[in-house]
Amino acid sequence: MRRGRDWLLAWTAAPGLTYLGIFFLVPMLLVVVFSVLEGTPDGGVRPSLTLDNYRRALDPLYLRILARSAWLALLTTGVSLALAYPTAWAIRTGSPRRRGLLLALVVIPSWMNLLIKNYAWIVILRREGVLNTALGSLGLIDEPLSLLFAPSAVLIGLVHTYLPFMVLPLYVALDRMDWSLVEAARDLGAGRAAVFMRVVVPQTLAGVAVGCTLVFIPTLGAFVTPDMLGGPDSLMVGTLIENQLLQVRNWPFASALAVLLMAVAAAALAAVRRLQGAAGPGALA
């Protein structure tokens, strides 16, 4: 019995970890090495160690870009959570026969190419676009709304892209939840709000945490959507890194920025886990 157990536990995590070690950590080590080298004007590197790239990354100009990206990612996560929770709830509590179809319907738009999707948003949001025409003919607005090429359009585009990443973990959490506790609380006369806050929310925190992470972290580095839908001053850290790598060909500085971005995200995650740990053991996956 004992031997069998060890056998099971020894092999399960190993292949995945080995894989990530080879195809993620090793290439990323290259990035870390690059980040402490000196760049040459021709886009190459000099084999001399320096921390200048990190010092430069802490310039207020770049910190401001990072802060703006973090704020946008936070906003996207909040809006996605607010929309995804009732959505997942309605799917899980609806007819069991429709669950699969509804989940598929939520996921399918995310298989649409990002560029194509953003072009469609331009058509919808522009001054004489679909939305303004519809609202105008309904008499809801007098002046067309200037949504496009502004933060609102970026938010709309990002929420659209990442919403399924929130709905799926929430649905999985709701599905795993012990629904008999909900019935029991109801039978004991608890109100809907109380049942939700005291019974449902604590049981789905792990799903909320995973969903928020899967939305917040990729949004932090997003650059296609801010580039296409954002206004003249919409530079995000993802675009900044891309510019440094492609336009300026300063690979060491781009590497330093990427390492910093990953460090910020890891720190945010560690903080969330500590908070969750304090709130209750095992609350976060």
């Binding site: 990530l20 993620f24 290259l30 989940l103 190419n113 194509i116 948003w121 799926l168 971005l261």
Partner: protein, 260 residues
């Protein structure tokens, strides 16, 4: 507890929001205009043009091979990883869990360039295989994280009970663990597939000559501005996906109403 009207209203609003650009896409795939600015009349021309393009067909084939094999591999590795992390308490586990998030946050372009440099250093020939290997590395964490969320609070006693009843490891996995985590695996695989199908930057850098996938084709076409036939292609792909999924759901015999 049934869904209240507000939750159902949100679901409908969310679906309307999610499908707004899809609707525009479908409509414009029939628009007799090259620059998708205004409605110029109905045409099937873009679909016809699409059928006559062997390059788009090759890119589509490449995308399917890459996405399906990468997703299959990542789903297996990610699920096993989640099981291992959940079932086994070992030192450094928390750190490993944190490290799992790094591929999620690593900027695509940096990861693409780093992987290319790595491939060149170890003499791994660029082709389709190199794209698949790259995709798996950013897909594993997504699958593992979602499966792990499903495993959360999974009572270890169930395993003990199964063992005490004499179940061997294989039987335990098949009959106890898998049914419980199946929705998590499916959700993880769906997200992994979505990521792979639409990945541009990492694919661009790790692709060998002749292995271009659809996103590479689309990016280069859209940047030059030949979009209507891409609208037509996207419409066909979305329709095919929808039909496949609906058919699969209809055909699926469901012994367990709790599953997806």
């Amino acid at each position: 507890m049934k869904a209240g009207w507000s939750a159902r209203a949100t679901l409908l609003a969310v679906l309307a929001f999610l499908y707004a650009p899809v609707l525009v896409l479908v409509l414009y795939s029939f628009n007799d205009a090259r620059f998708s600015a205004t409605w110029q009349g109905f045409t099937f021309g873009w679909y016809q043009r699409l059928l006559e393009s062997p390059e788009t067909a090759a890119a589509l084939r490449s995308t399917l091979v890459v996405s399906l094999s990468a997703t299959a591999l990542a789903t297996v590795l990610g699920t096993l990883l989640a099981l291992g992390l959940h079932l086994r308490r070992f030192r450094g586990r928390a750190t490993i869990e944190l490290l799992l998030y790094l591929p999620v946050v690593a900027p695509d372009i940096v990861m693409g360039v780093a992987l290319l440099a790595f491939y060149v250093a170890v003499h791994l020939p660029l082709g389709r295989l190199s794209i698949i290997l790259a995709h798996v590395s950013f897909q594993i964490p997504f699958v593992a994280l979602i499966v792990k969320a499903r495993l959360q609070d999974f009572p270890a006693e169930v395993i003990e009970a199964a063992r005490d009843l004499g179940a061997d490891e294989g039987a335990m996995i098949r009959h106890v663990l898998l049914p419980i985590i199946r929705p998590g695996i499916l959700a993880g695989a769906l997200i992994a597939l979505a990521l792979s199908v639409d990945d541009f930057l990492i694919t661009y850098f790790t692709a060998g000559a002749g292995a271009s996938t659809l996103p590479i084709r689309i990016y280069s076409m859209v940047k030059r501005g030949v979009t209507p036939d891409i609208n037509a292609l996207s419409t066909l792909l979305l329709a095919a996906t929808l039909i496949l999924i609906v058919a699969a759901l209809k055909l699926q015999k469901r012994p367990n109403p709790e599953s997806m």
